[in-house]
C-alpha cells in the first residue's frame, strides 16, 4: 500500500516519483528516464543505463514503452548523483505530474517503410523547444499533457487515444498502385486480389479481371492501411502527404477514456508548426480548465467548435465538428442557441 511520498533533488522539479508506505517506514524513488526517439539503443548506451540502475538504484528497470520512458528505481540518498550520471550519458529524468509529459514517436523512418513523415525528428523538435522545456520541467497545468507522433494511420505511437495532441501521417486520395508489380504478385500467387478487395473497409477497391486492372476510389478510402500492408510495395500510401492532427484523446481523465478528435491537417514539411499549434491548443485549456481536467475533458465541456475558435486554430481540411443529434427531446437551452434555430427557420419561410 503506497502513498505519495516526497523527495527533494535540488532544482529538479519533475521526472521522479516518490512513494512511501502508509505507516511511513519505507520510501521509494523511481526515476522516469527519457528514451531516445524510437527507443532504439546501441548496446553501449543500454549498458550505461544498466550500470546506473545498478550503482545508484535497486537494479530494477521498467521498459515502459508506451510512455517513452524507462523507469529506474533509485536509492533516494543517491538521487542527486544519479541525475548527474544520467546527464553524463546524454539523457535525464523527464516529466511527472501536471506538466508536459512523455512525448512519444513511433519508430518511423528508422525502421519502418510506411513512415509518411519524420516522427523521430518531430519529437526531438518538441523536446528542444524552450517553451515545451519549461512546461516539462515545471508543473503548471490543470493536468498532464501528452503529445505523440505516428508516421502513418497504423498509429503505433497511439496518438489517437493516448495523446492530448497527436500527429498522424496520412495521404490524400487513393493509395498509389504499381500496377505492373501488383499483377506480378498476383500471378505468382503472392497476393490474393479477392481478399484485398474484400478486406477494404471502405469498399473503395475494385479489380477488373479481364483487363487485370486495380482501381482505388480515393474519395472513399478511409486510410485503413489494409491494402497497403498486404500488398506493399505494390500498393503504397499516396504521394500527397499530410499530417492529421487529433486533439483531446486520453486514458485517464475526468470523463473517462476517450479518442481524440480530428481537427485538420498540417503539411509534413510544416511539422515545426506542430509546436506552434500545440501552444494554441494548450492556451485556452491552461487558462480555463478546472483542476484535473484533461484537454479532452475540457473540450467535452466547451464543445469542440468553441474550443477550436478559442484556440484560434485554422487548419486545412478541418471537419464539421457537430455532434450526433440528441435522442432526448428536452433540454435547457441558452437564448443564443434558440435564436439560431429560429433564424434557420426564418430563412426557409420565404421560399415557395
Amino acid at each position: 500500500m503506497w502513498a505519495a511520498g516526497s523527495a527533494r533533488i535540488p532544482y529538479v522539479y519533475t521526472g521522479f516519483i516518490a512513494r512511501r508506505t502508509r505507516d511511513g517506514t519505507i520510501s521509494e524513488l523511481h526515476f522516469r528516464v527519457t528514451q531516445p526517439s524510437g527507443y532504439l539503443y546501441s548496446t553501449e548506451k543500454l549498458r550505461q543505463l544498466v550500470d546506473i540502475a545498478d550503482k545508484y538504484g535497486l537494479g530494477l528497470i521498467e521498459l515502459a514503452g508506451q510512455q517513452g520512458q524507462m523507469i529506474i528505481s533509485i536509492k533516494p540518498e543517491l538521487a542527486n548523483e544519479a541525475i548527474d550520471a544520467l546527464r553524463s550519458i546524454g539523457t535525464d529524468v523527464a516529466a511527472t505530474g501536471d506538466s508536459v509529459r512523455e512525448l512519444a514517436a513511433c519508430i518511423g523512418p528508422a525502421l519502418c517503410e510506411y513512415a509518411l513523415y519524420n516522427t523521430l525528428e518531430a519529437r526531438d523538435k518538441f523536446y528542444t523547444h524552450p517553451k515545451i522545456y519549461e512546461w516539462l520541467s515545471n508543473q503548471l497545468f490543470p493536468f498532464k499533457f501528452k503529445a505523440k507522433f505516428s508516421g502513418c494511420p497504423m498509429d503505433c505511437a497511439r496518438a489517437s487515444h493516448r495523446a492530448d495532441v497527436g500527429f498522424i501521417g496520412v495521404w490524400v486520395g487513393a493509395p498509389e498502385v504499381d500496377l505492373e508489380l501488383f499483377r506480378k504478385k498476383v500471378e505468382s500467387g503472392e497476393l490474393d486480389v479477392e481478399k484485398i478487395v474484400a478486406r477494404c473497409p471502405s469498399g473503395a477497391i475494385s479489380w477488373d479481371k479481364e483487363k487485370k486492372e486495380l482501381k482505388i476510389d480515393g474519395s472513399r478510402c478511409k486510410k485503413s492501411m489494409e491494402c497497403i500492408r498486404t500488398a506493399f510495395p505494390a500498393i503504397k500510401p499516396g504521394k500527397e502527404r499530410k499530417v492529421a492532427v487529433v486533439v483531446g484523446g486520453n486514458v485517464k481523465g475526468r470523463f473517462g477514456p476517450k479518442l481524440g478528435w480530428f481537427i485538420g491537417y498540417l503539411n509534413p514539411d510544416q511539422i515545426k508548426d506542430a509546436v506552434d499549434l500545440t501552444f494554441k491548443v494548450i492556451a485556452p485549456w491552461e487558462a480555463e480548465a478546472q483542476p484535473k481536467y484533461r484537454l479532452g475533458d475540457y473540450i467535452m465541456q466547451t464543445g469542440l467548435d468553441k474550443f477550436i475558435e478559442k484556440a484560434g486554430i485554422k487548419l486545412e481540411g478541418a471537419p464539421f465538428t457537430g455532434k450526433k443529434p440528441d435522442e432526448v427531446p428536452y433540454a435547457v437551452l441558452p437564448k443564443e442557441v434558440r435564436e439560431r434555430f429560429l433564424m434557420f427557420a426564418e430563412k426557409l419561410k420565404g421560399r415557395p
Binding site: S37, L86, D92, E113, M154, K252, G256, M300
Partner: protein, 381 residues
C-alpha cells in the same frame, strides 16, 4: 557563464539520435522499402541500399519490469549475435536487432533458453500490458502484474505459435485510471472498487484546507470536490463543523478521488475487475474505437485468477471460432453486432438481467453496475 543553479535546471534530452541509433539503422534511415515475416516474432526489414535488419521480438515480464542483470544479458546477446542494438517497443516488448536470418534464429534460441518467449506478430497475442499497481501505485485495487502473469501463462502458446484470426492485445489495469493503456484495445481488464469508497476520517484533513478555513471557502473551490466528476463528494455542515462527505448514491467508482488523495479506502470484499472487449487503436479495419464492458464485475482471486482467465480464454475462443481470417476482435464484433456477440459468448441471460438505464441518464463513465449487481453477478456465476 551559466550559474550552477541554471546549469542544474537544464535537463538533458537524448535528441542527438546519431549517438543512440546503431550505424546500420542510421545508414538506412528513411530508406526502408519492404519487410518479410519469418514465423511469429522475426521480421526482416529490407532497405533500398540492399541492407537488411532482422528484429527478434522478445516478450518481457509483466509490467516490463526486469532486473539490470537480465537487461545486461540481453545486451550480451545483442552484441554476440546482433548488430549491437535493441529496441523497446511501444508495448513494452524488447526487440533485438541483427543482420541475418541465421543469427536471428540463434537469438531466438538463446533468449528462449533464458526463459523469454519470442513471438507476437500477425495472428497472435502481441503481448499483455500491465500497469505497475502495487509495485509503485497509490490507487491500485487489484494486482495487475500477477493477473497479467496468470493470463500470460494461459495464453502463452498464442504468443509464440499464433493461431488467432488477427492481432490480439490485452491491457490489465489495476484501477479505473487505466495506466496499462486505456480501453482502445481488444481486451481490457480493469480493477474495480465495486462499491463507493469510505473516507478515512483520521487522515482526510491532509487533503483539505484547515478546519477554520474550510468553513469559509466556497465548496466549489475545494480540490476534492472539483476532482469528483459526479458531485458525490460535497461539504456538509454538522453542528458547527464542516465535513467532506461522500454520497454513495452519486458515486460511480471512478477512483479519481483516491488518485488525488490517499484518504479513501475500499472494501476488499467488493473489489473486482471489469472486462471490456472490442476496442482498438490503429486505423485498420473499421478504425480506432473504445472497448465496451462485457463483464462489469468479476472477483480477482490470486494467485491464479481462475475466473478472469476462464472468461478471457472463452472470449478468445468465441472470436477464434467465428471470426474471418484477419479480423480483429473489434471488427468481428462490428460485423456480427453486439447482440449476436453477446449471444455467442453465452451472456444473453445475464445481459437481460443486467439492464442499465439509458446512457444519457448515467455519467460518461461506463463502470457503474446498478446497486447490487456485483453481488448478484457473483451469485449468478
Amino acid at each position: 557563464m551559466t550559474s550552477p543553479k541554471a546549469a542544474r535546471l537544464q535537463k538533458v534530452f537524448p535528441v542527438e539520435l546519431e549517438k543512440f541509433l546503431p550505424e546500420k539503422v542510421l545508414k538506412n534511415y528513411g530508406k526502408w522499402v519492404d519487410r518479410k515475416y519469418h514465423g511469429y516474432g522475426i521480421i526482416e526489414h529490407i532497405s533500398e541500399t540492399g541492407d537488411r535488419v532482422f528484429t527478434v521480438k522478445v516478450s518481457m515480464p509483466p509490467n516490463a519490469r526486469i532486473s539490470a542483470d537480465t537487461l545486461e544479458k540481453f545486451a550480451d546477446v545483442a552484441d554476440k549475435l546482433g548488430i549491437g542494438a535493441v529496441r523497446v517497443t511501444m508495448a513494452g516488448n524488447l526487440e533485438i536487432l541483427t543482420d541475418s536470418l541465421d543469427k536471428a534464429l540463434k537469438i531466438k534460441e538463446e533468449v528462449e533458453k533464458m526463459g523469454f518467449p519470442v513471438g507476437g506478430w500477425g495472428g497472435a497475442l502481441w503481448g499483455i500490458n500491465s500497469c505497475t499497481a502495487y509495485l509503485t501505485c497509490t490507487t491500485a485495487v487489484v494486482d495487475s502484474p500477477s493477473i497479467t502473469k496468470a493470463l500470460g501463462d494461459a495464453l502463452a502458446p498464442y504468443f509464440s505459435e499464433g493461431g488467432l484470426p488477427a492481432k490480439l492485445r490485452v491491457f490489465v489495469s489495476g484501477c479505473p485510471a487505466l495506466c496499462a493503456g486505456g480501453t482502445a484495445i481488444d481486451i481490457a481488464i480493469v480493477g474495480q472498487w465495486g462499491a463507493p469508497p469510505r473516507i478515512r476520517e483520521d487522515v482526510i484533513g491532509m487533503c483539505l484546507p484547515p478546519p477554520k478555513a474550510l468553513a469559509k471557502v466556497k465548496e466549489a473551490q475545494i480540490f476534492l470536490v472539483q476532482v469528483c466528476p459526479t458531485g458525490a463528494l460535497s461539504l456538509r455542515r454538522e453542528g458547527d463543523k464542516v465535513k467532506l462527505t461522500l454520497i454513495g448514491e452519486k458515486c460511480i467508482n471512478c477512483a479519481r478521488c483516491k488518485e488525488n488523495c490517499d484518504a479513501f479506502d475500499y472494501d476488499p470484499e467488493d473489489v473486482g475487475v471489469a472486462i471490456l472487449v472490442g476496442g482498438k487503436m490503429s486505423n485498420t479495419g473499421g478504425g480506432a474505437r473504445l472497448a465496451r464492458v462485457l463483464i462489469p464485475w468479476l472477483p480477482a482471486n490470486p494467485p491464479r485468477y481462475e475466473e478472469i482467465v476462464a472468461v478471457v480464454k472463452h472470449i478468445v475462443e468465441v472470436w477464434k471460432q467465428h471470426a474471418n481470417p484477419g479480423e480483429r476482435l473489434a471488427d468481428f464484433i462490428d460485423r456480427v453486432g453486439w447482440a449476436k456477440f453477446i449471444e455467442l459468448a453465452g451472456l444473453q441471460d445475464i445481459f437481460n438481467y443486467y439492464q442499465q438505464v439509458p446512457e444519457f441518464a448515467r455519467t460518461f463513465l461506463h463502470y457503474r453496475g446498478m446497486g447490487e449487481v456485483p453481488k448478484r453477478l457473483r451469485d449468478a456465476l
